[in-house]
């Protein structure tokens, strides 16, 4: 099919405002009569609050109010489990819990007043390791709960005992992963304006999921959803990170805005952002795998224990994605998987790009290379003997036959892009000197969108103005990933108009229908289908009108380049004249689009079903050089091949690949949020290093396209798959180069050199 706008690297529709400094982010907003607020956060990871004395703070210059938990109408919120406090009341469960807040005429006055608040604590013992938190008799974080377990997801298939008995080789390995900071460049910011346009509160700011934030604010204020309006501004990166933490911020600002009757602005410093925001879950993973000497997998037994920190947050869903993908993309007859989440007094953990997959992929793809070594097989060969192909059945019993299973293709294309075979052969030979090169790969399958986590549907609205210009609204939110551009391309494609005629409008919850959250790499797939649906409804209306007007078959006529054609190459009318005429005759020129995903299923007791309606496949390969004398690790080249179904905008897809590979590189070799008894050591970028431009390997992105029958124009997902594969590929390359297998992330200097972290208790 020949496309006009889709499948083309058209320029981003929001680029102009971003390169000129015109784009307004949360911290850039100003409203008349605006106040500023700050939060006092505890330094204790676990303590009883005995007393909060605010009277001195209230007398400070410029102060308009000091608030504690008793001032919050409903102090509990949470997307899945309502266990998170807007402000801690009796007890803090993590260092960073807010205990009081001040609103004042200026930020400096609010900050000065915070220092006058006195809080008496009684320190409590803490539990800082989920393996401790799960033990019987362990100290309980939330007294009202039975124990510290947030969630347990089991999966059972076949009989693992039988499978291990059939194996010639059985390996048992443990792997660990670390806390990661999202490190979006823009710290969180919101402004809440009271009594604007008939809304009790309007919330502006850097909000990943406007509907989730609206839910939280309305629940906290105990008002109707219709009383709360959330308007999303440009957001300076999120990666899953600006959800619950921003909802809490918005709820706090809303309480103060209502109390003072004035707009209230809150902007986190980088230190506040590190201290308060949720992190990527660290996992402790135990894998047991059996295979015949021919390299056929017979059984896998997996346990994954995730640290949920002080709150449940997204842990139940994060660990659910882990249970579905824990075996990797391999056919295994006998599988027993258990994933768990436990409360600890560490920072709480939530959604971060990848969402429960990067951890299990690091373990399981490292394990495949270890097993290949034991069996004397090349890593590629072991994978090819076991990986999914068309019609394969997954660990949960899902037959993969609705879409193209393209593992073989992504693997071959990635190998070709980086010259894998020659390099593997060359680096497998004895290398002289301290500096040794290696090459390693990893592959994955990934369920697209939410899966059986929740109802998966989205809306859009398209409105054709009387001059033929078109406004597109979506219930999903631009997070910087390029959604506005993708959706505009789709609308232009269906309506046969130039991109310049399409204007994408900011998300406003008072107007666009609730479409769930912009998460799970679901925007292009689910939101795109909704945009396409609205555009197709309008197109049908236009063609019906044209059929009567020109007495030509609607099937013959064509909308293209802003004109209606008769099918013989003759222009009948401009899009503007035709649609303007329709509007003038009283025809509704706007349409709602809606898309609900195909049926999915999950049996929580047995861990079986069809958890996702489609999957994407990827392969990443890393080429490294290890200095075995110093432990210095350089990632020289990376290839990343991803099946996206159809690339709506190939240049955007490449941008996602480059960015995801670099974030995966940070996860793999440098990033680790260091904690001491639950307290973060270093809360800015001089302590927590993320990759700079100098850390870039040469990255070769490879886009693979097998259009999906359920995707808009065949498109699926790309955001998250790009970062889940890198750490395992790099670990495998390091093992290939140096002979050293590292089973803990990140692969930093000390782990590469001496095999463990230098800090206390380091693995």
């Amino acid at each position: 099919m020949a496309f006009k706008h889709v499948n083309k690297g058209v320029k981003r529709v929001d680029a102009y405002e971003k390169v000129t400094g015109k784009a307004k982010f949360g911290a850039d907003l100003e409203f008349a009569n605006m106040l500023y607020a700050k939060v006092l956060r505890t330094e204790y990871p676990h303590a009883k609050i005995l007393k909060i004395e605010t009277s001195e703070a209230e007398k400070m210059p410029g102060v308009k109010g000091v608030f504690t938990a008793k001032d919050i109408p409903n102090n509990l919120f949470g997307v899945i489990v309502q266990d998170q406090q807007v402000l801690a009341e009796d007890k803090v469960v993590l260092a960073g819990d807010g205990v009081a807040m001040v609103v004042a005429e200026s930020e400096a006055e609010a900050a000065a007043a915070l220092e006058k608040i006195e809080v008496d604590y009684e320190e409590l013992e803490g539990v800082f390791d989920p393996l401790e938190a799960r033990k019987e008799g362990a100290l309980k974080l939330h007294p009202e709960k039975e124990d510290n377990q947030v969630i347990h997801h089991p999966l059972r298939k076949g009989d693992v005992e039988k499978g291990f008995a059939e194996a010639d080789v059985v390996l048992e390995r443990e792997y660990t992963t670390q806390f990661i900071e999202h490190s979006y460049l823009e710290p969180e910011a919101v402004v809440v304006v009271p009594n604007e346009d008939n809304h009790l509160v309007s919330v502006y700011g850097s909000i990943q999921n406007p509907y989730a934030t609206r839910n939280a604010v309305s629940a906290v204020l105990e008002v109707e959803l219709a009383d709360v309006r959330v308007i999303q501004n440009h957001i300076g990166g999120s990666f899953g990170g600006k959800d619950e933490v921003v909802s809490a911020m918005a709820a706090r600002a809303a309480v103060m805005a209502i109390a003072t009757g004035r707009p209230v602005k809150m902007v986190n410093s980088r230190e506040e952002s590190f201290t308060e925001s949720y992190k990527r879950h660290p996992y402790h993973l135990t894998y047991k795998i059996g295979a015949t000497k021919e390299g056929k997998l017979t059984a896998m037994e997996i346990e994954a224990v995730a640290d949920s920190g002080g709150y449940a947050c997204q842990t139940p869903f994060v660990t659910w994605r882990s249970v579905v993908q824990a075996t990797g993309p391999y056919e295994v007859e006998n599988v027993k998987t258990d994933t768990y989440g436990y409360y600890t007094n560490n920072p709480y953990t939530g959604a971060m790009r990848g969402y429960g997959s990067p951890q299990v992929i690091f373990a399981q793809e490292s394990l495949m290379d270890e097993l290949a070594g034991e069996l004397g097989l090349e890593p590629v060969e072991l994978r090819k003997r076991n990986m999914y192909s068309q019609g394969s059945v997954t660990a949960s019993g899902q037959k993969l036959d609705r879409h193209t299973v393209s593992l073989n293709e992504v693997m071959d294309k990635a190998m070709e892009a980086i010259d894998y075979k020659n390099k593997y052969e060359e680096y497998s030979k004895e290398q002289s000197g301290d500096k040794k090169k290696g090459i390693g790969l990893s592959i994955s399958f990934r369920g697209c969108s939410l899966g059986a986590e929740a109802i998966d549907a989205a809306a859009s609205v398209i409105q054709i103005n009387k001059d033929g210009s078109v406004a597109v609204y979506s219930g999903l939110a631009e997070n910087g990933q390029g959604l506005k551009t993708i959706f505009s391309q789709m609308a232009a494609e269906v309506l046969g108009i130039p991109m310049s005629e399409v204007e994408f409008k900011e998300l406003d919850t008072s107007f666009t229908p609730d479409s769930g959250s912009t998460v799970a790499s679901r925007a292009t797939l689910i939101g795109g289908n909704a945009v396409k649906d609205a555009a197709e409804k309008l197109k049908q209306r236009i063609m019906t009108f044209a059929q009567d007007k020109y007495e030509l078959d609607a099937e013959v006529m064509e909308l293209k380049d802003g004109f209606l054609y008769d099918g013989q190459g003759n222009r009948l009318a401009t899009f503007a004249d035709l649609t303007g005429e329709m509007g003038n005759t009283g025809i509704l020129m706007s349409a709602y689009g809606w898309y609900k995903s195909p049926p999915i299923s999950w049996d929580e007791e047995k861990g079986c079903g069809n958890p996702y309606f489609t999957y994407v496949y990827g392969c990443q390969i890393a080429e490294v050089e290890v200095d075995t004398g110093t432990g210095e690790l350089s990632v020289i080249n990376m290839a990343a091949a991803h099946d996206v179904g159809r690339a709506i905008n190939p240049e955007n897809v490449k941008g996602q690949i480059y960015g995801g590979v670099m974030m995966g590189l940070g996860y793999g070799i440098m990033e680790e949020l260091e904690l001491r008894d639950g307290v973060i050591q270093g809360t800015n970028f001089h302590d927590y290093m993320i990759p700079t431009i100098k850390d870039m390997p040469d990255i070769k992105p490879v886009i693979v396209e097998n259009p999906d029958p359920d995707g808009p124009f065949g498109a699926k997902s790309i955001g998250e798959p790009t970062l889940e594969l890198g750490s395992a590929a790099i670990a495998n390359a390091v093992a290939h180069a140096s002979g050293k297998r590292i089973r803990s992330l990140p692969l930093n200097l000390e782990r590469v050199l001496i095999g463990r972290a230098l800090h206390k208790g380091g693995k």
Partner: protein, 157 residues
């Protein structure tokens, strides 16, 4: 606290301002001049989001007191576009898809501008060195390098 009188030329326009002795150039730019294109990302000179050009040098405006740069000529992202249109760097950033969330973009543009002003034909390594102080979490940097290379070519042409 006594305010100090300073004079700054920002994007070609002269401003007489009163500033506190501890006022950062970033605050003067964002709060007094309302030029909010310059971003605050870390406040400790690590992320580069607040990069502006002070007398031809790219600097982190969070690390400079306004009083220190009295009399200086300053360029912010808002000063790039002119009546004749977008600057070649801005065009290249759009053309090469070097923008995702856009929060690092103003700082990246300023660091790149300082580079091209002194080195119109930079090598890839020189581009990396010039942008080393600017963090980006979205793009993986590749398309930013592509954009600076394209701008250098356009500019030289």
């Amino acid at each position: 606290m006594a305010k100090l009188d300073v004079e700054l030329t920002v994007n070609g326009e002269k401003h007489k301002l009163k500033v506190g002795s501890q006022e950062r150039l970033l605050d003067t730019i964002r709060e007094q001049l309302k030029l909010t294109g310059t971003k605050e990302g870390c406040s400790v000179g690590e992320c580069g989001a607040c990069t502006v050009i002070v007398d031809d040098q790219a600097v982190n405006s969070c690390m400079v007191l306004t009083a220190q740069v009295d009399g200086s000529e300053i360029i912010t992202v808002e000063g790039l576009e002119s009546k004749s249109g977008l600057h070649p760097l801005q065009k290249a950033f759009i053309e090469k898809q070097a923008v995702q969330c856009g929060f690092c973009t103003p700082g990246m543009l300023m660091s790149a501008l300082a580079l091209l002003n002194t080195n119109p034909e930079p090598s890839k390594e020189e581009i990396k060195t010039a942008l080393e102080g600017n963090l980006c979490r979205c793009t993986g940097y590749q398309q930013i390098i592509d954009a600076v290379e394209m701008a250098a070519e356009e500019w030289g042409a």
